[in-house]
Structures are given as C-alpha cells and as structure tokens.
Symmetry: C2
Subunit: 345 residues, 2 copies
C-alpha cells in the first residue's frame, strides 16, 4: 500500500467519467430518455427503463450533478456556516440538521468561521457560489456585505441560535438574554449575593462569542436591578473549553476569594470550574455555586448535575433544515430555554 502511482485509477482525474451520452448509446436510446429514467420524470416504457438501468449498472454511471445543477438551476446543496466545531453545541446543531436534510435529499456543505465575522463573509460568498438551495448561518450579526449577499442570494436563509434581534428570512433560536436572566433569577432566589463570571474570549480574533455577550448582559442587568451587580469577572483569552473554565475560575478566585456564585459562559467552562472545585476541596454548592449554559449531556450525567439552562440544539438544527428546504414563510421560531436546577447552584 506504499509506493507511487501503483493505482492506475488513482490520482489526476484523467479517467474521464462515463457520461449520459455513453449510457444512451449503450441502451440504444437518446440522452434525454436516460435522463428521464434516472430522474423518474415523464412517461417511460418499462422495457426502456430496464434497458437504461442495465446500461447504467454495466457502465457504473454516476450522474454529474454539476452539469445537472447548471442546466436546471437548482442544486441539492445546503450551506451551513458554523462558528466552531470545538464546542460540541455546533456539531449537535449540525447533527440535528443532517437528518432532515438527508431525508429530503439535500447535502450539507459546511464552513467554519472560528467566530470571525469577516471570515464569515468570505465563507458565505464561497458557499453562495455553489448556488445552494438554502443557507443556514449562526447568529444575527453579519458584516453589511454578508447581509446584502444573504438578502440577494435568492435562496432561503436561516439564522440560528439567537432570537434577540431581527433577521433576514428565517430565525430559529432562543433568547440568550433571557437565558442570562434566568440564571440571575435562579441564583438570586437561592440566596446568593456575591456574583462572579467566567467567560471565554474569541477564537482566533477579536470577534468574540456575541451570544455569550448577550447572556452576560441579561445576567448582569437582572443582578444590577436587584441591587447585587457582579463583583468580578474573568475572561479567559482562549476558546471555550473545560480546561479554560478550570483556569478561569482559579484566576478569578485568586483575585476575589469571597464570591459565592459563579456564572459561566457555557457548560464546558462551568464543568471546568466544577473540576477546579473538586480538585481543591471547594464544596459545591455549599461554598461556591456554579451555573452554566446549554445543559450538555456531559454536565447532566455527572453525579452532581450542573445547574444550567437547557437549549434545544438538535431541534434548532432540525427545524432550520426543514424550513430552509421547504416553502414556509419568513418567520422567527423561538424554541425557548428551560432552567435546569441541577445540583451545583
């Protein structure tokens, strides 16, 4: 299995694939008849159909959808733009979308922005150049040019994960601000008063996680209104991860040891914080309460499940896929958020 060019069929696409024309010749019919058989369109005599299918199999013909798309101006591609694959949340959204898309015969093309809104612009252009049937993007904030492209694309566009704002066509998400408020109200109702926050920075560049920012705003506004604004916060300069959460909490506590409740930018971070507490003998929630966001499986199966807010990632992906590929009207779907009391706050 090592060596150079020992596979004649491998490498440069010298091997011209068989075309419709060849299948037609083999079957003794015209190209258009083969095309019809393959697409089940128009009336075809059973005998003809059999002959064509036999030729298709004999030649190992695989239709060229590039040509088909160009001729019919309609592809089965659906572009999906995600900020990251490192946070399990987005693979879950993708997974939610993959099911319906496959069922309806669509193919996902994915692009990852690393939370960089300028990069998103480029990627959207690149996806649109494939004339997809639809486009699924994350968030409501885009560069002006990206937004213009999305509006003029002539395809359905779904914006996910955020319902705090207005969008282009279809919105499927939840209110991040509300998630922050829920966290604040829960912690207040449990009697905590000295609040801290551990968040994550952007990935590659400045373009931070805007939705985490909206949660923070909801959180801090509610606390401030109750007269107990957060006393300190630590933003780890790294993408969200368990390790980042662990470091972040350590830093924060080193600086402000008397906090009694910590809100994390998400469950990954919160779980890291939880591990920090376990490793350092900090009683949770007796000594320190922890609150996350997302209700990831990993945080819920632990013996002491995380206090958090559940978001319906799979459902968001699923609904978005369905709407983008259907002919539903423009709309905003709020899948809501739900307090998960857990055992850490």
């Amino acid at each position: 299995m090592t060596g150079t060019m020992d596979h004649p069929t491998t490498g440069r696409s010298t091997a011209r694939r068989t075309t419709l024309t060849e299948v037609a010749q083999q079957a003794g019919v015209s190209e258009i008849t083969v095309s019809r058989v393959l697409r089940d369109s128009g009336p075809i005599a059973p005998a003809t159909r059999d002959r064509v299918m036999a030729a298709v199999r004999a030649l190992g013909y695989v239709p060229n959808r590039v040509a088909g798309t160009l001729a019919s101006s309609g592809s089965n591609l659906v572009g999906i733009v995600l900020p990251s694959l490192a946070n399990i949340v987005f693979p879950e959204v993708l997974r939610g979308a993959a099911g319906p898309l496959a069922t309806m015969g669509y193919q996902p093309v994915i692009a990852v922005t690393e939370y960089d809104i300028a990069r998103e612009e480029t990627l959207i252009e690149s996806l649109l150049s494939w004339r997809p049937a639809g486009l699924i993007v994350t968030g409501l904030e885009h560069t002006p040019r990206a937004e213009a492209m999305l509006r003029n694309a002539g395809v359905r566009v779904a914006e996910l994960m955020d319902s705090d704002g207005t969008g282009i066509d279809i919105i499927v998400g939840f209110s991040n601000a509300e998630a922050g408020r829920i966290a604040a109200r829960h912690l207040l109702s449990r009697g905590y008063r000295r609040f801290g926050y551990v968040g994550h920075g952007g990935g590659a560049t400045i373009g931070a996680d805007l939705r985490a920012g909206k949660r923070w705003t909801g959180f801090t506004t509610t606390l401030a209104a109750a007269g107990h604004p957060p006393l300190d916060k630590e933003i780890v300069d790294a993408p969200s991860s368990i390790a980042a959460g662990r470091c972040g909490l350590a830093e924060l506590l080193a600086r402000s040891p008397h906090l009694d409740a910590i809100y994390f930018s998400n469950d990954d971070m919160a779980l890291g914080g939880y591990f920090h507490c376990l490793a350092n003998g900090i009683a949770v929630p007796g000594q320190l309460a922890l609150f996350g966001h997302n209700a990831l499986d990993v945080g819920q199966v632990a013996p002491q499940p995380l206090s958090t807010v559940r978001t319906a990632r799979l459902k968001i992906g699923e609904i978005a896929a369905r709407l983008v590929c259907g002919d539903a009207p423009s709309q905003k779907v709020d899948v809501g958020v739900e307090l998960v009391e857990g055992a850490t706050a």
Copy 2:
C-alpha cells in the same frame, strides 16, 4: 419578522443572479477578460483589472462555481463521510480537516452514515456526483460497489481511523487492534485478572462500530494469551454515549459483581462507567479499574483522569486533508496510539 413573503428578495430563486456577461458589459470588456481578472490568470492591464473589479462590486457579482466546475472539470469540493456526529471524535476529525481545507481553498461537503455501510454506499455516490476534488471516508470496510466507485472515481480517496488492513489510495489512522492490546497489557501489568467489557451497539441498524470490534479483538486475544480471558461483556444496544456507558456498567456489575477491571469501547462509555462508580460508592481503581479509548479532553480534565489510549483525531483529519488535496503518492500513514496511564486503572 413574521408574516408571508414580506421579503421580495426571499424565497424561490426567481431573482436571476448576475452573470459574468453582465459584469463584462458593465466593464466594457469581454467575458473571458472578467474571468481572467477574477481568477488571476493570464496578463491583465491594471486599468482593465480596476474597471472589472469596480463592475463586480457594483453589481454584487458572485461567480457561479457550478458553471466554472463544469467548464474546467475541477471543483474545490472535498467529500467527507463520517459514521456519526454524536461521538465527539468525528467532529474533531472534521475540525482537523477543516483548517487545511480552508487554507487550500477547498470546501468540505459532509455526509453521515450512522454506521450503516449500505447508507455509506449511497452517500458516496451522492458525493461523487458533485465531482469532488477528493473524498475522505471513515474505515476500510465498504460495500463492494462503494469500493468500486471509490476506485474508479478518478479522485484521491483517504480512508481514516484504521490502519488494520489495506485500502484504496491513502490511509490515515492507527491500529485499533493495537489499542486493544495496549489496554490489555496495561491492565495485566497492574495486576487485574477478572476482566469485563462494556461496548455499544450500532446506531440505526446492524452495522456496528467495526473499529471498536477490532479493539475488542485485540484486547481479548491478548488477555486470552495471558490466560485471563474476559469473564463477561455487556453490549448496550444504543449508540455510544456517557449515559449508555453508565447503564452498561450497571447491567454488567449486576450480573458479574466480582470483576476487577472494565474495558470500555471508548471514553464516552468509560466516563459513564466512572460516573456510575462515583454515584454508587465504588472505589476507582481500588475496587474497580476503568479503561477507555481515545483520551478525550473531557476524560482528562477530570480530577481523576481516565486511563485510556490517546488517538490523534485532529492530526488524522489534518493529514488526510493535506494528502487528499495534494499530489502525494498512495500511502498508509499510521499516526500511532499512546497509552495514557491516567488514574482509573
């Protein structure tokens, strides 16, 4: 943002996109000149270039890569076939590949088989119909027709995650059998003797996780050779997950309470097992040793890190992307596996 058809630009693709021809007219040059400017090919006078770019911007022109691909018979699409997105391992492979692909100007198109080898065949055909520049698939086992298509595709093909066998063109992976053997040797060397196994079933259908099977074989063969074959095993009839691991271990211990070491099909499952032990006061590893596979972050950041075998998922994705898009010879790249002693065995 709710209501029907309030966006004139939304919905059916009635809005014909602007074409090269229109840009050419606007700029007062021929189509081919615009094409050259956009692709940076051939000599172009600076003044002409500026005029063309101005027209492109003015019209908001987005090239149609479908037409481009058809004309030049070469796309920038790379098909990626993964068994699942529910297991973080595959999003990580995808993430590893996404970087280099983006850098080299390629676009990933993904397909998910749910561990169904028949479905894989369909998906491969579907991906090939887009005449991708390359194809990345998981595993070495395919249906005969799928394998024939891959061989005749005329594109580079990489098969990932498994080096125990022969492949079509490029292989990037590690030996699952060896991973199983490492686990067995480690547990033996630690003095454990009464072994159990907790595995996961297929996803949708019979087509189980073949690579987990190879690990099991390596594990059990080594143990048998040492005179201590596994005493019991529990295969949970569900996709791999933390919850499945937790249930699986509970079942297994209910039936065989005297086991002293458990090998899990992967870290998700093992972490579930660990949580079962925590919740039921089973001392790890004193009373029961736990061993996983993959060395996921989540298992390593915990206070008591999982004993497991590290696999280089990101690296596999990265190398595969590079090789598939380059003109390297057919080859097998074994990224190896590495024992992670951890604290659970």
